[in-house]
């Protein structure tokens, strides 16, 4: 009797083990939590399509899992073998993913390359392209985009007021509150000044790793000095801009102590919770260089348009995946303009598709969500994708030695150490050297 029980137990254990071993690993895709259900449904559609086309079952179970797209690249690099087959990352992670031997696979499917080149803005294509071993490859497939926009309190500000920072500033002075809270001290947040351009000509004055070349970087010139001086006036004024209070930028908006916040689409829900129906969304305002700030060859009354780093979320392929032959076909399907439009309509995600504004239904300013999308699209004209994709070093250089904090310190001028033009230029030179990879 005992032997029989023992044999039965062994049979059960062996069966479970064999069943476990015989099941193939599922094909795993990481996407943002907000679009997980959407892409799971899309993959179910894809599997049906694959079976009809190929006349055979898709060989793997497909699992679309939610991941924090901000940290996905880091999590993936910690253990690539345990990572997904396809993951979503922001394009500025590309440098890290391509560091050394590279953790992701270049796109080689011609149909997919053609689709990427036909449907994406050139600026996005430039930042997802990298040279490896003497050859140029595309490494990601963009499908969503985002840029910074202005959230404002409609109780105080009209659509006309928010066209210029001076308009906002004036209302702030009348109400003795702050014009603006920025949500952090990083480079993304100060990009509204660093990437400012001439409102008339569209010329941008800062140069950051243009064409993927380290030396194509310049921060110190007459225009940028003028912009930084204007920024200093704005930040050091009691009714100007500030870093969000330690209660959080949401509290600043809710309590009316700050009239506006610069943020991305990811701040939308919190901004709406803070202001409800009083929330307004607009593109980032312009500002005018006055005689006090104009430096060198810059004429007073030059109007500048605030800029923004833009960002694209893209799918990349794990080079260690054992399903590589299937991945490009999946990406070809998941990033078509049609799927991007469906995602926009259902999830309010901003598509990377370059003709979205003209061809997608529902791209209207009738709703606050529509305004959010349109404001971002407008900001694409005044922004550049973060240029750190091609080389991991660029991202390191741009942020090393707390360069963004140094810039904010000039703006805030808390201890009056940047009262003179010379001291501002000296610090800007230091920041430029940091961006160029020096460790001064």
């Amino acid at each position: 009797m005992k032997n029989k029980i023992l044999i039965m137990i062994l049979v059960v254990i062996s069966s479970v083990t064999l069943y476990g071993c015989s099941r193939s690993k599922p094909l795993v895709i990481w996407v943002g939590a907000e679009v997980q259900d959407f892409f799971q449904e899309k993959m179910e559609e894809y599997v049906i399509m694959f079976e009809e086309r190929e006349g055979r079952a898709f060989p793997f179970e497909v699992q679309v899992r939610a991941a924090d797209t901000g940290t996905a690249a880091g999590t993936f690099l910690d253990d690539m073998d345990a990572g997904p087959d396809i993951l979503t990352v922001a394009h500025d992670n590309l440098g890290r993913l391509l560091s050394g031997a590279g953790a992701i696979r270049p796109i080689q499917n011609e149909a997919l390359i053609a689709q990427i080149e036909a449907t994406n803005p050139q600026a996005f294509i430039d930042v997802i392209r990298a040279d490896v071993q003497g050859q140029s490859f595309l490494f990601g497939v963009p499908y969503e985009a985002q840029s910074l926009i202005l959230y404002y309190n409609r109780n105080y500000l009209s659509a006309e007021d928010v066209e210029t920072w001076e308009g906002i500033w004036e209302v702030a002075q009348t109400n003795n509150v702050r014009s603006l809270s920025i949500t952090g001290a990083d480079g993304f947040n100060n990009s509204f000044l660093v990437l400012a351009s001439d409102a008339e000509t569209g010329e941008r004055f800062v140069r950051l790793y243009e064409e993927g070349v380290l030396e194509n970087t310049e921060f110190v010139n007459d225009e940028m000095i003028s912009i930084v001086r204007w920024g200093q006036a704005f930040f050091s004024h009691p009714n100007g801009a500030r870093l969000a209070s330690d209660s959080g930028w949401e509290a600043d908006l809710r309590t009316g102590t700050s009239l506006t916040v610069i943020g991305g689409a990811w701040h939308f829900r919190a901004a709406q919770a803070a202001l409800g129906n009083d929330l307004g969304v607009a593109k980032l305002p312009r500002f005018t260089i006055t005689e006090d700030h104009a430096h060198g060859s810059v004429s007073p009354n030059t109007v500048m348009q605030s800029g923004s780093f833009t960002d694209t979320k893209m799918f990349v392929m794990n080079r260690s995946s054992d399903k590589l032959e299937y991945l490009e076909d999946i990406l070809l399907f998941l990033t078509t303009p049609e799927v991007q439009e469906q995602s926009f309509l259902r999830n309010q995600t901003l598509p990377a598709y370059k003709n979205a504004l003209e061809s997608f239904e529902g791209m209207t300013a009738d709703t606050i969500q529509g305004q959010l999308i349109l404001a971002q699209l407008e900001m694409f004209n005044h922004g550049i994708p973060q240029p750190f994709g091609r080389e991991a070093r660029f991202n390191v250089f741009y942020y090393q030695r707390q360069a963004p904090d140094r810039l904010l310190a000039i703006f805030r001028n808390t201890n009056n150490q940047f009262n003179t033009v010379e001291s501002i230029i000296e610090e800007m030179n230091l920041i430029e050297r940091i961006w160029l990879g020096e460790r001064p």
Binding site: L77, M80, D81, R96, L98, S99, G100, A101, G102, A103, R105, P106, V132, Q133, A185, L243, S245, D246, S247, G248, A251, D252, T255, T257, R319, S320, A392, R393, V396, R401, Q402, D405, R406, L408, A409, T414, R439, P440
Partner: protein
């Protein structure tokens, strides 16, 4: 002055000489001890030097001999077949890899690069395995030699059953200590060694293990602390100074506050003593980070404290107490004061227990001798409390040096210092967190961790060895 320096130098040199002499003697004794079984032992014991378990098998201790032999075979198989985990070998190749930290750089279409981090880790693990193996090897020789000695004395070699029985009886301490030692080795010593080794490499933010290699750089990371213009050189001393200042005030403010509170609650005439104690214990019962986040919100610019101060007319605009404070002094004082909320209940609770156990007759004797209440407190209560709580005080000081939560949740290390990762309220340990987790400079973080360890270990040893609680530990009744 020069004479005193010379004396100090001579004393230091004589200590080093003494250490070298002791170490040489220890080595000589060990070698002699190791040779003795070979000279005096049976053929079986001699064989144990080459084949583990041979001596036991010779003495017909089959199970024990078999176990030793199996261990040797297992070790040799692992050592020479170099099994791979995540494509990185453990075994003799791991020792080679430990020194090279990898040579294969990989490429986008070929294989990945060697994983320098795993190579270092497996190198350390292999050294650990060798150490465990050598201990087992020595034990195998002495096991056989012990049987030889028993035979010489006219006794039979012990059976496996007897050995097991002995493990549960006279050698019970070995049975109990073995899992602990293995645990300490695996979870404390190996990670500590790994961390120390990282400090001698260039494993920084530009390295992704598995994609690029890192290499040994000697003492470069250490010298950067005292030379150069970098983050470490500029900020190490200020951060260290604030860390020690914080630890001092955080420890003694809570200590004194706790004693005073305990004295107040235990004062005869105070009613509802248990209720008061329970209320204060509640702060211990709550997870610390929840209390800290609540306090952070209370003190924030739009929080209730600011609102109240503004309504009372004390402030005309919100005041930043913490990370965005205008001066480092404000933020530092704020965190020390908030820490009282977290720390006082611990001391209060402990001191209450001590106070309840001070022998009453001591006070009665003092009263008869005409001592005032203050004199009784100064000469009886206080020494009693200090004697018992000194180890706690030291532990608390060390704990505060490595106190992560309070700074991390309250100020995040701010107010910031432009150009520096370390803010004005950053402690060594929060700075270490920023450098490793946020900035990815694992090598520099390791150097700071080593310095933190040296400081805490030295402070603990020095203060504890000089305390009465250590010197007179047998006198306490």
């Amino acid at each position: 002055m020069i004479e005193s320096k010379n004396r100090l130098f001579n004393r230091f040199m004589s200590k080093i000489k003494h250490f070298i002499a002791s170490f040489t003697n220890f080595l000589k004794r060990s070698i002699k001890h190791f040779k003795r079984p070979f000279k005096e032992g049976s053929k079986g014991t001699k064989g144990s030097y080459f084949i583990m378990g041979f001596g036991n098998l010779y003495h017909k201790q089959y199970i024990k001999g078999g176990l030793f032999l199996t261990l040797q075979l297992l070790f040799l198989i692992i050592f020479f077949t170099n099994p791979k985990v995540n494509n990185t070998p453990i075994g003799f190749q791991a020792i080679r890899n430990f020194f090279t930290l990898g040579t294969e750089v990989g490429d986008i279409f070929g294989g990945l690069a060697d994983n320098s981090m795993l190579m270092m880790l497996f190198g350390v693990v292999t050294f650990g395995l060798i150490a465990v193996f050598l201990a087992t090897y020595k034990s195998n020789i002495y096991s056989s030699f012990y049987s030889d000695l028993r035979l010489k004395e006219g006794n039979k070699p012990t059976t496996f059953k007897e050995d097991l029985a002995e493990l549960l009886d006279s050698r019970f301490h070995i049975l109990l200590l073995t899992p602990t030692i293995l645990g300490v080795l695996t979870f404390t010593i190996l990670p500590t060694l790994f961390m120390i080794f990282i400090a001698f490499t260039n494993f920084d933010r530009e390295v992704v293990p598995g994609l690029n290699l890192f290499e040994w750089v000697g003492f470069a990371n250490f010298t950067e602390i005292f030379t150069g213009q970098g983050e470490i050189a500029n900020r190490f001393i200020p951060v260290l100074t604030w860390t020690l200042t914080w630890a001092f005030f955080a420890t003694f403010s809570c200590y004194i506050g706790g004693i005073l509170l305990a004295l107040l609650i235990n004062k005869p005439g105070v009613r509802l003593k248990k209720l008061w104690r329970t209320i204060f214990i509640l702060t211990i019962a709550l997870p610390q980070f929840i209390s800290l986040l609540a306090v952070q919100q209370l003190l924030s610019e739009h929080g209730p404290v600011n609102a109240m101060l503004m309504q009372l007319g004390i402030l005309d605009q919100p005041f930043a107490f913490l990370g965005q404070a205008r001066t480092a002094f404000t933020a530092r004082v704020s965190v020390i004061v908030i820490n009282l909320w977290i720390g006082i209940p611990f001391t209060m609770l402990m001191t209450s227990g001590i106070l309840m156990n001070v022998p009453k007759d001591t006070y009665e004797a003092a009263q008869i001798d005409g001592a005032s209440k203050f004199q009784a407190f100064r000469n009886i209560t206080l020494p009693y409390i200090i004697f018992i709580t000194t180890p706690y005080l030291i532990t608390s000081f060390i704990g505060n040096i490595t106190s992560f939560n309070i700074i991390f949740f309250l100020t995040g290390g701010d107010p910031n210092v432009p150009g520096s990762v370390a803010g004005q309220t950053d402690l060594l340990v929060t700075w270490l967190y920023s450098l490793t987790i946020e900035e990815g400079d694992v090598n520099i973080g390791s150097v700071i961790a080593i310095f933190t360890f040296i400081i805490t270990a030295s402070a603990t040893l020095l203060s504890y060895r000089r305390s009465k609680a250590y010197k007179e530990e047998d006198t306490f009744q």
